[in-house]
């Protein structure tokens, strides 16, 4: 799906859905083993075969040379050492730093902040006009579209040929020579991040719009009557109400960035050179194009490790959902 909606992060969990709800639920007094097994068998089998077992295998394989994807020679932390000393993966010795992992960091900082900022602005401003639903729908459309299609749409906009690419045609009006948005290694990441932002703002808008709407209109109205200006209303009333949805949204967007693949693969294939590679792209390339299974496994494990804090956050929040 587009870029944004990771089916991965439970967002604001309804209080009723916490574990307390389970404990409160009445069922038959005695545990029903047979029914439980029958209802859980298909899911359990698939989860073990397709998720649990492969994950453990991959973790082990990351400590192996892993030629042909099987264990052939244990190499300890060699894959990780190679990975983190590979300037194409992370290079902090230059300024600005570079490498695939660095690109993910760039994405996290720029993409996440812009998506939330623009989403909040649009949600708040659109709430004041009658065509709010239309604006929200327009901004949301990219969410329905495949990243592959987003990539085609924006490769077209970015085309270096001013007769084809809208952006360079606009620059041409001002007498600026065409820019190779996706062909210049200093620009490419920002051009890609802009596409990501364009694709995800609708998601943020819809979520934050619901949060903004949860503030009763008469509360804001009475604040206005008492002389509060728009800025005070925004910072003192709206912002505190949306801080929880924003933090949850931020987590979702960070997860999207860590898993980001389709858009990069289709738009630039990591290029020019290796300038726009991201971590999920490196994993795919190392494992399936270069046949470096052990090394590719190490990259996959790095992805997993980056997500573990968020997993713990989710589980914690879900458990405390019982308290709130």
């Amino acid at each position: 799906m587009g870029i944004a909606p990771t089916p991965g992060v439970p967002q604001v969990i309804p209080a009723r859905a916490g574990l307390s709800a389970v404990r409160g639920a009445r069922g038959p007094e005695k545990p029903n083993y047979l029914a439980a097994i029958l209802f859980l068998l298909p899911a359990g089998l698939l989860l073990v075969v397709f998720l649990l077992y492969p994950s453990l295998y991959t973790v082990l394989l990351s400590f192996n040379r892993g030629r042909n994807g099987v264990f052939d020679q244990w190499v300890g932390f060699d894959n990780y050492v190679r990975l983190f000393s590979d300037a194409d993966f992370i290079n902090l010795s230059t300024f600005p730093p570079s490498g695939a992992l660095w690109n993910n960091i760039l994405w996290i900082v720029i993409y996440t902040s812009f998506v939330i900022f623009l989403g909040l602005i649009i949600a708040v401003v659109a709430a004041r006009v009658r065509y709010e639903a239309v604006i929200k729908a327009i901004v949301f459309i990219p969410m329905a579209i495949a990243a592959t299609a987003l990539a085609v749409i924006w490769k077209f906009v970015y085309s270096p040929d001013a007769n084809i690419g809208l952006l360079n045609a606009l620059l041409g009006v001002f007498g600026v020579a065409p820019i190779s948005w996706l062909g210049d290694e200093n620009i490419v990441n920002f051009a890609l991040i802009a596409v990501g932002i364009w694709g995800s703002v609708g998601f943020a808008t819809v979520i934050l719009s619901a949060a903004v709407k949860s503030i009763p209109g008469e509360v804001i109205e009475s604040a206005r009557v008492e002389g509060a200006n728009e800025r005070q209303i925004f910072f003192r009333m709206i912002l505190p109400m949306v801080s929880l949805p924003i933090s949850v949204l931020a987590v979702t967007l960070v997860v999207n960035v860590i898993k980001l693949f389709d858009l990069i693969y289709v738009m630039t294939a990591g290029g020019p050179g290796k300038a726009s590679r991201v971590i999920a792209f490196v994993m795919y390339q190392q494992a399936f194009q270069a046949g470096q299974y052990g090394y590719g496994s190490a990259v996959a494990v790095v992805m997993l490790v980056l997500l573990i804090p968020i997993m713990i956050y989710n589980v914690r929040r879900f458990r405390t959902g019982a308290v709130t």
């Binding site: 969990i13 009445r26 029914a35 703002v201 795919y284």
Partner: protein, 279 residues
């Protein structure tokens, strides 16, 4: 005076946003109907020289095999939607209305699985599938991609549906049980029928997720005659990177179903996307 000024600024700003979010897609849509020679000569915004044709679509559907790819996408997406729906509903029912030991612990594990990146499973799944059962050639057909999509959909689907099932009134379930209904009967005759909206929202989400997917198809569909549209377009792009008449038409064939779903089922669609987010 100030209020009026504010209003002008707001309308202009929102108008600008509307333009920025519509124009790229509209530009590609217009291009998909322009003859190749026109595309090479002038930009799509040159509306005074607009000649429209469906030749691009004919060419991409027939000569470039996009018709087959469209059918393949349907073949991949439909089972990859209904399998998770069935399996997730069963598991979600167990997590909501059947008592068994370690239920909470198991459910927390499912929540932890929500975020496991698919990349972690790719290598073993591929090498085991090919080395353990070489005769089956799972990745030559659709079975591998169906199962992979289903398995990776489970944590989210179970989470979502369980959160809905748990909100059903306990008395309704209890009453059926007192009447002697088995769990399967309670599930199929009571829980499923009243949960249609939630299941539909999740089904639409999952369908579009699979429809739009490229990564899983790259890894689990190895036979080029079975490639879905996302892969076909990616191939078009690497072969004919500047043949915009083909790329534009191809991209719109990929987008048409999601857009129809979006405009006809917008409420469900947004719900599905946000489900598990805000209640």
């Amino acid at each position: 005076m100030v209020a009026a000024l504010n209003h002008w600024v707001i309308h202009i700003a929102l108008g600008l946003i509307g333009v920025i979010w519509l124009v790229p897609t509209v530009g590609l849509l217009v291009t998909s109907f322009r003859p190749r020679s026109d595309i090479q000569a002038t930009g799509w915004w040159d509306i005074f020289n607009l000649h429209l044709t469906i030749e691009n679509y004919r060419q991409v559907l027939e000569a470039q095999g996009m018709l087959q790819a469209f059918v393949n996408t349907v073949f991949i997406a439909v089972p990859s939607t209904f399998l998770p729906l069935a399996i997730c509903s069963l598991a979600a029912y167990a997590f909501s209305w059947i008592k068994f030991p370690f239920r909470d612990t198991l459910f927390l594990i499912v929540i932890a699985f929500l975020l496991v990146p698919v990349q972690v499973a790719f290598i073993p799944l591929l090498t085991t599938a090919t080395s353990l059962v070489p005769d089956l050639q799972l990745t030559r057909g659709y079975v591998a991609v169906w199962l992979a999509h289903t398995a990776f959909a489970l944590p989210f689907g179970i989470f979502l549906l369980r959160n809905f099932f748990i909100t059903l009134p306990p008395d309704m379930i209890e009453a059926a049980r007192i009447d002697g209904a088995s769990d399967f009967r309670v599930f199929s005759r009571i829980v499923l029928p009243v949960s249609v909206p939630a299941i539909a929202a999740y089904g639409i989400f999952q369908f579009l997720w699979v429809w739009n997917d490229l990564l899983m198809a790259l890894v689990f569909v190895q036979d080029s005659s079975k490639f879905p549209m996302t892969r076909a377009i990616q191939n078009l792009l690497s072969q004919y990177g500047t043949e915009w008449h083909l790329l534009a038409a191809g991209a719109f064939l990929l987008m048409i179903v999601p857009l129809v779903v979006f405009f006809s089922l917008q409420r469900y669609f947004v719900q599905g996307l946000l489900a598990g987010s805000i209640k």
